[in-house]
Amino acid sequence: MRPVLADLRQSVSDWIFRAAIPEAPPVTLGQRRIFILPTRQGYAFALMLLLLLLASINYNLSLGFLLTFLLGSMAGVGMLHTWRNLAHLRLKPGRCEPVFAGETAAFAVTIESPSLTRFAIGLRRRGEEAVHGDVRVEEPAALAIAVPTQRRGRIRCGRLEVFTRYPIGLFHAWSYLEFDLSVTVYPRPDPTAGSPPNTGSDASEEGIPIAGDEEFNMLRAYRAGDPPRQIAWKALAREQELLTKEFSAMASSELWIDWNDARGPDVEARLSILVQWVLKAEEYGQAYGLRVPGTVVAADRGEAHRARCLETLALFEVPR
């Protein structure tokens, strides 16, 4: 009986609140899409008003009547304030940075207020903890919902609820957002995987240093874009100029990270190894390519390339 009821409630709620068509940002919260209902505290407040009224009648307290009506009217005005605190907000999806499985992803939403500072604006996914923030005029605020991740793939944010109870907490005003927000979750890197093996078909004759080799061959002048971890901080500390450590591996031209080289008990383990290799390869600053069944990413280097490789691994055999 209960699941049926729950389903029914869900579908009614979906029908009332017009579910699930992603909308083009930015979304402005017009009056038609803001809902408002008393909170549990609001009902308790109403009960208190009733008690105040009864006491006023019974003891003939004119000032008691004044108090009761003042608080009652204040609750009414408070409802308008709560509604106004949400009304006309402009919302845009923010940047959702990819994360590795096991890390915490964040769905960000940027909120702008056209007028008045809005206090305690909350954002949450259905059934999850909310985050709160204030939005000042002409200072867009970003609220980010933290989502712990377990597995690789892509997490869709789904429906978001933006709400407020400010100023008096007796009313809950809310609206739903259907942004097409998603976060890519890369497979968890396998720290035991070491460095990528030297199996590249285009490897140079000298070969590539084997795994774990942290020795560098030479120092060269810093060039914009060199990763910070390769900067020779010790040299800098000795008041030399900014130098970059060049590892021997970098000397070779291309490295291929291949599905077939990764040995693991299952797909996920192999993907973890591949991710680790991609990270290492990028760290060495060497051009590298990725080969997994069904996809080949041409050799390259840089942030964008790394992201492409990791995304390929994240979405490997994930049904779209």
Partner: protein, 655 residues
């Protein structure tokens, strides 16, 4: 900027605000309740502050439960019960303090704040004056600010960020509150039995008089009632406000007749006076009127001894309009049983007084002659004083008439009535008030407990009851100018009130009395009757709850609509925003013509591009851009400048 998740841990500043609000609202109670309640409250509040301050543990539930039981027992031991005004309020204060010790979550905070609002109400059980009202309004303000602070969801709010929105909320709530106050159908209370001690502490005349009772009363400057005459005020010396009539002499105590019958009619009556009385709550079934009342107000009767008795005790200020006859003849055909009662005395007590009365009766058959002798006696040898020497408890009237000869109205009235009875003339004591204080601003007369008075009535064959005030013989000033004048420069009121009658202080005081009178009349005393009056003035002679409900609905929608509109007007984009709206429209027109502004492009860069692409638009586009920059980034544009900008954009054609 990303917001951290809201932590349920209560912010120390919010907690301190709540504790301060609680202290404010409970403070007036602490002066009234037993001292241990105050100590308990302050200690518990301090404890709770310490818990938040040092992030120490909350007391275990068992400890809180033990304290709760102990406090309940303490209350019971103090009052013998835990209901009633003092007991109930004590218990509520104690529980509110203990609730603070358990307050961990937002929901419990809300509960504590609601308890605080309830504590505001309990203050009104004790007093409903203007100063206390204002003080408690401030408390409600602070509580609302506290509530707002908690609803910032973990972000610290400054004092202004609490009090300003709280003030706005309350100010915007005032019109609706006023409408509800005027229109909400008033049910005459009480809904359930009032605890007995609500009646305690009210001063006023009672149904008996022993020497000393009225002189206690006379030290109180509490207001008994206020009077406003429709026409000119009758002479001061005629202002006898009739109250309990004491016919039975029981030992040395004068008591009211047990069950007086209902008044019949006056044999003759003239010099009518019309006036309105607002009587303060006395918890007695007595209304006061000028001697003698013509007809009873609603829900009351006039008894055969010309008292006005109400069905229910006066537990809230009551307003009534009255007509009185200053000259009247009444009681010539008085019931013989009443006359017998009015002639009875115990010859064993006060033997010398009784002997004197009998002696006068033997010397003269004319009652008027006997009265004249008594008046002459008082006139010659007696002194009017509030601090009479103590009297012999067994024969006090003997002691007074023959030894001390210093006394107050009750001594004169009591001994005079006894003398008359001994002389064979039926006599009784009438208590009430005499005179009052005339407010020069509005002509209102304020009658205080200090104006309490006792006089006598004797019964003359063929004439009925006749008023004789023996005090007037001793101290004519008492009757002609009031009790303060009679007592000389020292006065009865120990305050500055008595010393200064015409100076600046007096006018401030009288002005305050006018305000206070309005407050008593229109706020504290606003009841079913007032509500009916109010509607009668609006042209609804008979108003029922349906009419009230209808107007309440109308008022709620009208005021609610006005407040909503007011809030929405403030919601409208500000002036700088108006320039932005115009600029966006300008860009949209150009975009439609194929010249969309790139998101990163500033107004001047965009203008340069537009000029290059469409030289024919250059002049207009330049004008608009210049004005937009001035309005948006300049020191602030006037309304006209904005209108001009909007107009130019409207007329701008990009194609």
């Amino acid at each position: 900027m990303s917001a951290p998740a809201y932590s349920p841990h209560l912010d120390i500043r919010n907690v301190l605000w709540l504790l301060a609000s609680m202290l404010f609202v409970v403070a007036p109670h602490l002066l009234r309740l037993p001292y241990w309640v105050g100590i308990f409250f302050v200690v518990v509040v301090g404890w709770r502050a310490w818990i938040s301050w040092s992030a120490i543990r909350f007391p275990p539930r068992l400890v809180v439960a033990t304290i709760t039981i102990a406090a309940t027992v303490g209350t019971f031991l103090q009052y013998g019960r835990i209901t009633g005004r003092e007991g109930g309020v004590t218990l509520l204060v104690v529980m509110a303090a203990l609730k603070l010790l358990e307050m961990r979550t937002q929901r419990e905070v809300a509960l504590s704040i609601y308890l605080g609002f309830f504590l505001v109400l309990t203050n009104f059980l004790f007093s409903q004056t203007i100063p206390l009202g204002l003080y408690l309004l401030a408390c409600v303000w602070i509580f609302t600010g506290t509530l707002i602070g908690f609803n910032r969801m973990g972000r610290a709010a400054s004092v202004g960020e609490r009090l300003k929105p709280a003030a706005a909320l309350l100010a915007q709530a005032l019109p609706l509150m006023a409408a509800f106050f005027l229109l909400f159908p008033r049910v005459p209370g009480p809904l359930w039995a009032l605890p007995r001690d609500t009646l305690s502490g009210r001063t006023g005349l009672s149904d008996s008089m022993t020497p000393g009772r009225i002189s206690e009363l006379i030290k109180s400057d509490a207001v008994a009632f206020r009077v406003r005459f429709d026409g000119p005020r009758p002479p001061y010396a005629t202002l006898y406000w009739r109250g309990p009539v004491l016919t039975i002499l029981d030992g040395n105590t004068w008591r009211a007749a047990r069950a007086p019958s209902v008044f019949d009619r006056y044999a003759a009556a003239s010099r009518p006076v019309q006036y309105e009385v607002i009587e303060e709550p006395s918890e007695r079934n007595q209304l006061f009127a000028l001697d003698a009342p013509a007809a009873p107000p609603r829900e009351s009767i006039i008894t055969s001894d010309l008292e006005i008795r109400t069905r229910r005790p006066i537990s809230e200020p009551r307003r009534y309009t009255m007509t009185s006859w200053l000259d009247y003849k009444y009681g010539a055909d008085e019931n013989p049983a009443v006359l017998r009662e009015a002639s009875a005395y115990d010859p064993a007590r006060n033997p010398r007084t009784v002997a004197l009365g009998r002696e006068w009766a033997a010397q003269s058959r004319d009652p008027r002659e006997i009265v004249a002798r008594a008046v002459r006696l008082f006139n010659r040898q007696f002194t009017y004083t509030l601090e009479p020497p103590p009297l012999d408890p067994r024969d006090p009237y003997d002691d007074f008439l023959f030894n001390t000869r210093r006394g107050f109205c009750e001594h004169y009235a009591g001994s005079f009535a006894l003398l008359m009875r001994a002389a064979g003339i039926p006599a009784r004591v009438v208590t009430g008030y005499q005179g009052g204080e005339v407010n020069p601003f509005n002509g209102e007369i304020i009658v205080r407990q200090a104006d309490a008075h006792a006089w006598t009535e004797i019964w003359l064959r063929g004439e009925g009851w006749v008023r004789v005030d023996p005090t007037a013989a001793v101290s004519p000033l008492r009757v002609e100018e009031g009790v303060n004048a009679a007592l000389g420069p020292i006065g009865v009121l120990p305050t500055i009130i008595a010393a200064d009658r015409l100076g600046l202080l007096a006018s401030v005081r009288f002005g305050w009395q006018v305000i206070n009178g309005r407050w008593e009349q229109w706020v504290v005393g606003y009841d079913t009757e007032r509500q009916r009056d109010f509607f009668a003035r609006l042209g609804y002679p008979s108003v029922d709850w349906r009419t009230l409900g209808f107007w309440l609905l109308v008022a709620t929608f009208a005021i609610g609509g006005a407040v909503t509109l007011g809030l929405l007007v403030r919601e409208r984009p500000r002036r700088e925003e108006a320039s932005l709206v115009a600029w966006n429209r300008f860009c949209a027109k150009l975009a439609a013509a194929g010249l969309a502004r790139a998101p990163h492009e500033g107004p001047l860069d965009y203008l340069a591009r537009v000029k290059a692409a469409k030289p024919e638009l250059a002049a207009n586009a330049e004008e608009i851009t210049r004005r937009y920059i001035a309005a948006r980034y300049g020191p602030g544009a006037s309304r006209e400048e904005l209108r001009d900008l909007a107009g130019r954009v409207r007329e701008f054609r990009a194609a």
